[in-house]
Symmetry: C2
C-alpha cells in the first residue's frame, strides 16, 4: 500500500499547487466557479465530509484540470456513462472486466490500443 491518498487530500494538493502561482485558485474562488459553498469545499478537502456528487466532481475536475475518472475513483464512484455502457450488455462486460482484474497494466493497455487501432 504505497499511496492511500484520499479524495480530499488529492483535491487540496491539486488546488494548492495551482494557487501558488495563480490566485484564482483560492478555495473560495474555486467553490464559486463550481457553484458550491466554500465551507462545503473546505470540509471536503479535509475529508470531514464525504465527496460530493458526480456532477460537482466533474466540475472540480475540469476547474483543476484533473482526470474526472480518477477523481471519481478516489470518491469511490464510477462515471455514470460507463455504468450505462455496462448495463446495456451486462454479461459481456462483467465477464471481460472480471477477467482483466488481475492482468497487468501493460496487458490491458495493449488491449485498449488494439481495439482503438482496429488492428485485430
Amino acid at each position: 500500500m504505497p499511496k492511500p491518498t484520499t479524495f480530499g487530500q488529492f483535491l487540496r494538493e491539486s488546488r494548492e499547487a495551482k494557487v501558488a502561482t495563480d490566485r484564482t485558485f483560492s478555495l473560495r474562488k474555486v467553490a464559486d466557479r463550481v457553484g458550491i459553498e466554500p465551507s462545503y469545499l473546505s470540509k471536503i478537502e479535509r475529508d470531514e465530509q464525504p465527496p460530493p456528487g458526480e456532477g460537482v466532481i466533474r466540475l472540480l475536475a475540469q476547474d483543476l484540470s484533473e482526470d474526472p475518472d480518477v477523481l471519481l475513483a478516489l470518491a469511490g464512484k464510477v462515471s455514470s456513462d460507463l455504468l450505462a455502457i455496462i448495463r446495456t450488455r451486462p454479461r459481456l462486460f462483467a465477464d471481460l472486466i472480471r477477467q482483466l482484474k488481475n492482468m497487468p497494466d501493460h496487458a490491458v493497455l495493449r488491449l485498449v490500443r488494439e481495439v482503438r487501432d482496429g488492428s485485430w
Copy 2:
C-alpha cells in the same frame, strides 16, 4: 427498441414460470427465503417500488436461477465488485469500456475469449 422489460416484469415472469411446476415459488415463499416482506416483493414485481438493493437482488437471482449481473442491470445498477475493479485503474478501464461501447457483441466476445485463453 424491442424489449424494454422492467426489473419487476422480469422477476414476475421468472417466478411465475417456476411456480407453475413448483409450488415453492409462490411470492410469499420466495420472499421468505430471501428474507424480505412479501408485500415488498409484490410491489417490486409490479414496479410500484424501485428495485431493492444489491444484496437482495443477488439473493433473488440465486433463488430464481437468474444471472445476477442481468438482474442488477435491469435494476439500473452494476455489481459492486465490478465497480471496485474499475476503481483500481480508472483511466485504463474507462478508456477500454468507452471504446467498446459501439463494438458488436461478437467482437467483444472474441476479446473476452482471447483474454481468457491467454492466446495473445
